[in-house]
Structures are given as C-alpha cells and as structure tokens.
C-alpha cells in the first residue's frame, strides 16, 4: 500500500510538472480602434503554437494573449507581426496568470 501511494504521488508530481501553466502577455498596440482591428491581429497570433486566447482592451490599446508559458515572444517578432497588420507595436508586459474568461 505504501508503495502504491508513493507511486501515485510521484506520478501526479511528474504530470504536474509536465503541464505548463498559462501566462498572459499584454501587448501595447497603437492604431487599433475597432473589433475588426483586433480580429485580424488575433487571427495571426492564434496561429502561434501554444497561444490559447486573445482578448483586448481597445481604450488602452492593449491586446491580451493568453499562452502556454513555454511560448516566448520577442519585440522583433511582434513588431513585424503587427506591421503586417497595419498597426504599431510599442511593447509588452508579462502577467503570471491569464485574465478569467
């Protein structure tokens, strides 16, 4: 019984470590003024492996990307992505938890 309990606990620990937590990147994008502006950028962001959800705060010009913590973004990558969409990337902040749905 002791062996079984230890094995079970070890299994949960390994599994727990293997499931990465979600983090949120708040990207400051200038030039977005409407839901459509966000949608066209969200489409491109969702094509990145590990991105789970894209939201926005239009008044603040923020696009919120909830992604697996293994996903990393670079300023160069995001500058290029948003230029292609017709907008201007200014920077990002990482938040340890995604906003609730």
């Amino acid at each position: 019984m002791k062996k079984l309990l230890l094995t079970t606990a070890a299994t949960f620990l390994v599994a727990g470590n293997a499931i990465a937590a979600d983090v949120q990147y708040n990207m400051r994008i200038d030039g977005i003024t409407c839901p459509f502006c966000v949608a066209t950028s969200a489409k491109a962001l969702k094509e990145i492996d590990g991105v789970k959800k894209v939201g926005s705060d239009l008044e603040k010009g923020i696009i919120k990307v909830c992604a697996d913590e293994s996903v990393t973004f670079t300023d160069e990558q995001l500058t290029e992505l948003f230029v292609e969409k017709g907008f201007t990337y200014r920077g990002m902040e990482k938040q340890e938890q995604c906003d609730p749905a």
Binding site: C34, A39, K85, F87
Partner: protein, 268 residues
C-alpha cells in the same frame, strides 16, 4: 444622361474595407497584407419619380502590403425609365491606394492616402459609358475607439467614346462615424453600432455629344447621408440614405430624389 447617372451610382458605392469606414466613399484605414475584403452594396438611385436605377455593387479589396491596397468594383445595374428597361454589368473600376502618412497612437490613428485608378468600359446595354476614364484623389482618416472622421477629395477625368463624353466629376466628401452602442467598452465587447453622418459635394461638368455641350446636364449637388453601421470582428452591416439638400443643376438636368445604400462587408 442615363450613362452619366449610372456612372454616378457606381462612384457613390466604392467603399471597401471592413473597418468602420464611410458609406459613400473610401477610408485611409489599413488593409492587412494578404487579406481580402469583399463588399456588396445595394444602391437604389431614384430621380424625380421617373427613373430608378438599382445596382448591386461588388467590391474586392486586397492588401498587397500594409500601406498599399488594390480595389476593384463591379456593378450589376438595372435602369428603369418607365419607357425603357436596361439591365447588365455596369462599368468597373480598379484603383490603388497608398498610405503616405501614418501616426498611430494609443486607441487611435491618423492616416493620409492618395489613390488613383481607371474606370473600365465593361458595361452592357447602356448601363455605363464606353470610355476609359482616369480618376484620383486623396483620403484622410482620423480614427479613435469612440469615433472616426474621414475626408476625401477626388477628380474623375472622363474621355470620349462613341461620340459621347460625360462631364468630368469633382467631389469632396466628409464622414463622421460615432459609436452609439456600447457606450462603455468591456473585455467582451466584440461589436459596435455606429451612427453615421456624411456629406458629399459633387460637381459634374456638362456632357458632350459629338463635341457639343449638353446644356441640360451637369451641375452641383450637396448630399447629406444619415446612416447606421453594425461592425463586428468579421463583418460590417450598414445602411444610409443619400439625400440631396442642394441641387444646382444646369437646365433641365434630372434631379435626384434620394439614393439608398445598404449592404455588408466581410474580411477573409
């Protein structure tokens, strides 16, 4: 007269972005690289109860780069004068728009974009003119989350075909789109309802037939256009009524009663 009226109807329905853009002209807002936008607009142009022109104007927009977009419009038109009924493809337009100035800021943008293109003689059954006509202009947009203002000036130089030359067209346009609903944005806001108010000042030179000016053609008209837009992430539904408030036309040139615009735009 029939030909130039058909030309005017197409001229008034060439907006083509799925952004919150004007109903009766273009915007300087961007089209993403590689993105297609399709627009369909029903335009009913009623003149003095004696002539009804109904067009379905299809527009395809392609973002070549974030600054350069190509537009193509193709109308299908029915003209009913009471004594004659003509139906078929109207004259198409192809044009490019290049953004020369962009100032993006938090929650807004200001852009200026010149454009130029050609009207092609693709009409059937007298639903357009048979001439190749050049046009160009400049459009500017100031957009924010709550409202957007667009302004445009343009000129179309018409040429002669089959001994007929429609008068050149100069116009100045302005549009205000104001978000009516929701009043306050939340994290789940994914659509807007905009109230729209536009003005179109349009001057047409006199037409010429066999080199002789038609004294009963051309003139200046000022339209006001109240309308509504429902803008979502993927599509825009819209409707507006172009009402002539001043018509200073030459001779007995046919006056407009109204022009109804209704349609949708969708992005791919």
């Amino acid at each position: 007269m029939k030909k130039t009226m058909a030309m005017m109807t197409v001229l008034m329905a060439w907006n083509g972005t799925a952004l919150a853009a004007p109903l009766t002209f273009n915007t300087a807002l961007p089209v993403s690289r590689g993105e297609f936008i399709v627009s369909e607009q029903l335009v009913i142009n009623e003149s003095k109860g004696s002539r009804t022109e109904t067009s379905i104007v299809s527009t395809l927009v392609y973002g070549v780069t974030p600054d350069f977009a190509l537009f193509g419009t193709m109308p299908y038109t029915n003209i009913d004068t009471g004594t004659a009924d003509m139906q078929g493809m109207g004259d198409s337009k192809m044009f490019g728009r290049y953004t020369v100035y962009t100032d993006d800021f938090q929650g807004g943008t200001f852009r200026i974009a010149p454009f130029a293109g050609v009207k092609l003689p693709t009409n059937q059954d007298n639903t357009g003119t048979d001439s190749w006509d050049m046009f160009g202009g400049l459009v500017a947009t100031y957009g924010s989350v709550a409202w957007e203002v667009d302004g445009q000036i343009s000129y179309q130089a018409n040429t002669e075909a089959n001994n007929f030359e429609a008068g050149d067209i100069a116009r100045a346009d302005a549009s205000l789109q104001y978000r009516l609903f929701p009043a306050t944005l939340t994290a789940t806001t994914d659509s807007f309802i905009n109230g729209v108010l536009e003005a179109n000042l349009i001057h047409k030179d006199k037409n010429k037939a066999s080199g002789i000016e038609n004294q009963n053609s051309g003139g200046t008209t000022l339209f006001l256009v109240p309308g509504l837009q429902y803008a979502t992430e993927r599509y825009v539904l819209e409707a507006g009524l172009q009402i002539p408030v001043i018509q200073n036309l030459n001779g007995t040139a046919l006056e407009n009663d109204y022009i109804l615009h209704t349609g949708f735009r969708i992005n791919f």
